[in-house]
Amino acid sequence: MIDLAAKAFDALLAGLILWLAWSSLSTQDILKGIVLFIAFGLCMGLAWVRLNAPDIALVEAAVASGITGAMLLGAWNKMRLSLAKMRGDETKLPEPGRPWLHISGLMAMGGALGWAIFSIPPENTGGLLVPAMRELPRSGVGNPVTAALLNYRAYDTLLEIGVLLLAVVGVWSIAKSRKPAQGVPRGPILYGFARISAPLLILIGGYFLWLGTSRAGGAFQAGALMAAVGVLLVLTYGPTRRVPAEWIDRWGSIFGLTVFLTLGIGFMLQGRAMLEYSAGSAGAWILVIESAATVSIGWTLLLLFLGGRPQAASQKGILVEEDEVEGQA
């Protein structure tokens, strides 16, 4: 009975995810599509929980749905405002061209993918689960996903933080940050909310960071929450009051990579491979790296949300009224 209910729930959730993906992309209104995308991300979060992947569920909800959604809304709003005078129509119908060619190609691809999935041998070999769990006591942490991220495959994570930094470099070279809104009164309730929830979010972020050593959580979840604090403050008070100087942005975003690299090179100088922790102290080093990475991930995601290099203080005078991003819904 419970098994049947679980199956029904899975089927319903899978259907909902497919429907949300389809309607998010096929609706005429881009804004509606973005909102449906955020809902899609939250439903994906449920699917991750069903697949025993609580770490991914947290990151999906915070990063893929939350931060990406905020970025998309912000970019859409910026584009809409800059185009408002140039032309009216924002969306177009699918080009009349040859959708049947696309559809038949995709059908073939879908058939191949489905066949591939069904042809996976049913006996469960466990993949890398067995070695991962065998080495877990030596990895210094109790959560196998954290062990994979920061011990077994620490190179990946190092480069990933590098990719985040590169994205900031790219975004800063392409665009300027949205002009800060001035004097749009957001109302006492939003200010009160920001005052209560910003410290609360930082606290929860620290909790996730600590939790990552033993259970679901870790630097990415914590960093996403830090970025959420930044996004909330920017939306409430405006970017002008965010950061006093650009050097803080710069150091904040490279801090994690610096610590990561310094430790890696330090280990090499001690005669080990890069990022090969010394026996017994791996847990402590992982926590150091994760703490530094949390700061940087949070900072980088916030800078990416701002969508461009923050404008110099001297330009503060040129202010354009900007609509609240969340108010567009």
């Binding site: 025993n52 992947a53 689960l129 991220l149 990933e160």
Partner: protein, 109 residues
């Protein structure tokens, strides 16, 4: 045969991937293309994590999970860069798509 949850979610992942790819190829609006790529990416993650699933009672394979986490974060970085490019393109050209090359072809015909 009854569908295991991992097969169900892997097939869902394929479906999402195809929906994303299809929309990416037919809609000209840049933000919609970025949205479509994100959704296609989500499909890939779903397939990966389904392969990691080892049953309700067992811990799942952590290595694909770590890869999916990495993938999600890299996707955000890519999305931010793509959105910045899209914003720059629309503010330089006043357009929300990249349809120009096709127009030139038409003129040639």
């Amino acid at each position: 045969m009854s569908l295991d949850p991992e097969t169900l979610y892997a097939l869902t992942g394929c479906g999402i991937f195809l929906i994303g790819l299809y929309s990416f190829s037919i809609y000209p609006h840049l933000i919609r293309k970025i949205l479509a790529l994100n959704i296609a990416g989500a499909g890939v993650y779903l397939v990966l994590a389904s392969m990691a699933y080892q049953g309700k009672e067992t811990v799942a394979d952590p290595v694909p999970h770590a890869m999916v986490l990495t993938g999600i974060v890299v996707a955000v970085a890519g999305t931010a860069l793509a959105l910045a490019l899209a914003g720059r393109i629309s503010s330089e050209t006043g357009k929300v798509d990249l349809e120009e090359p096709q127009d030139i072809e038409k003129e040639d015909e």
